[in-house]
């Protein structure tokens, strides 16, 4: 398994799929919400990330639904994807704890 930190778009896409499968537009909306409106994924960026995550076995196709005459393809996290997301969360939490401890010490 790749031990390198996840890029922000990759982390947010995995996070957007953590609670339930989503289609492309759903992932874009969820990423925007998760980031407090700070990150709006472009379609090419999203599918570049999804393509890589599928190739790495972290995300897989879930189902297809027809909406307004168009097919929507949903994707879900795999066990490997959930593990990668949890590892990244642990890394970020550990960093945040260390920095908070430093910030708590007021300079003399």
């Amino acid at each position: 398994m790749d031990a390198r930190p996840l890029t922000e778009p990759t982390f947010l896409v995995l996070a957007a799929l953590a609670d339930r499968p989503r289609h492309g537009y759903g992932v874009i909306g969820e990423v925007e919400e998760l980031s407090g409106g700070r990150v709006t994924l472009r379609v090419g960026t999203l599918y570049g990330v999804l393509d890589r995550l599928v190739a790495e076995g972290r995300v897989e196709p879930d189902r297809e639904e027809v909406h307004a005459g168009r097919v929507r393809r949903y994707h879900r996290l795999t066990a490997a994807g959930r593990q990668a997301l949890e590892a990244e969360l642990a890394r970020q939490e550990s960093n945040a704890r260390a920095v908070r401890a430093r910030l708590a010490v007021r300079p003399a």
């Binding site: 379609v43 960026t45 190739a55 790495e56």
Partner: protein, 330 residues
């Protein structure tokens, strides 16, 4: 299908197979949902924005250079670009390091070695910028070899410094003479910006060897100048020119690659050819100078050697690349 959808699907033809088959429908559906919001007028007359075009172009480039999920041929192409980036930046880093050592020597700050007696050495702001750029180039070579994430921003920084140098020379007398060399330098830098990121190049003997070969003839050139301080033979003078040295290194590399029996041909041969072709402007620009007798034949021989070896490795590399499937995922 609305005219807008047709226009976006036309844009998606930039994507290589098999990614286009996998994602085109999904991307179109998502893009239409994100942009039109059921506006019939926009669906009729609208068009993908410049940002949308750049977005698709960026994805297409990544997939053509072997991003995960790309085809076998795209992965080989990406490996070629990465080798051009690694070998080229290692060569540039060797030259930059030698430049820094020479500058230190001229200023008498090199330990154990006396500075040459050339009178006061001038040091202007552009020399300082050049020294910083050389330092960044050395760091770039190390990062490219180790596959570090800093490679791309460093390559971009050195490329910007090069462009500033070109812009500063516009209208000046030296631009036409320096432009071919700057073009040669720009090729590995652009490759380092575009190259797919990844772990360090496995068994990095080839770029390391290339770097060492660039340093070794420089040392030979310095030795010759020490042996013949008053009147060095004109035919040997080009050996102190780093671009001629790079040419010799590339010819030697091409010879080894062509002679050795390797199960997997393609990327290394193509990378040698690309670096050789990129080197030609710098070598050719050295021919019209008013140089000592014997200088031009040596540069001409190096130019012809690079041209022939680039043609041979390019042909072998292209043949190997064409045998790889373009629509099968790696």
């Amino acid at each position: 299908m609305s005219p807008l959808e047709q226009r976006y699907r036309r844009l998606l033809t930039w994507l290589p197979e098999p990614a286009r088959s996998r994602w085109a429908d999904d991307m179109t559906e998502t893009w239409l949902e994100a942009t039109t919001a059921d506006d019939p007028e926009y669906a009729e007359f609208g068009s993908p924005s410049l940002a949308d075009r750049l977005d698709v172009a960026r994805l297409a480039l990544r997939l053509r250079l072997g991003a995960p999920g790309a085809s076998v041929r795209a992965v080989a192409t990406g490996r070629t670009v990465r080798l051009v980036a690694v070998a080229g930046t290692v060569a540039l880093a060797s030259m930059a390091l030698m430049g820094l050592v020479t500058t230190a020597w001229l200023h008498g700050v090199l330990p154990l070695v006396d500075a040459p007696d050339l009178g006061p050495v001038r040091w202007g702001p552009w020399d300082a910028v050049g020294a910083v750029s050389s330092g960044l180039t050395v760091a770039l070579g190390v990062c490219a070899l180790r596959g570090l994430a800093a490679t791309r921003p460093l390559a971009l920084a050195v490329l910007v410094a090069l462009l500033v140098e070109v812009a500063m020379g516009v209208g000046g007398p030296g631009l036409l003479m320096s432009l071919p060399t700057q073009l040669t330098v720009a090729v590995p830098l652009v490759a380092a910006v575009l190259a797919p990121t990844g772990p360090p190049v496995r068994r990095p003997w080839w770029p390391v060897w290339l770097g060492l070969l660039v340093v070794a003839p420089w040392a030979v050139g310095a030795l010759l100048l020490t042996l013949f301080p008053a009147d060095p033979p004109g035919g040997l003078l080009p050996l102190s020119d780093p671009f001629v040295q790079l040419g010799i290194a590339l010819v030697a590399t091409a010879g080894v690659l062509l002679v050795r029996r390797r199960p997997e041909r393609g990327a290394a041969e193509l990378a040698t050819a690309v670096l050789g072709v990129a080197l030609l402007p710098a070598l050719v620009s050295r021919l019209p100078y008013d140089t000592p007798a014997g200088y031009t034949p040596t540069v001409l021989a190096a130019t012809l050697g690079v041209l022939l070896s680039a043609a041979a490795t390019g042909a072998v590399g292209m043949r190997a690349l064409r045998t790889l499937p373009a629509d099968v995922p790696a």
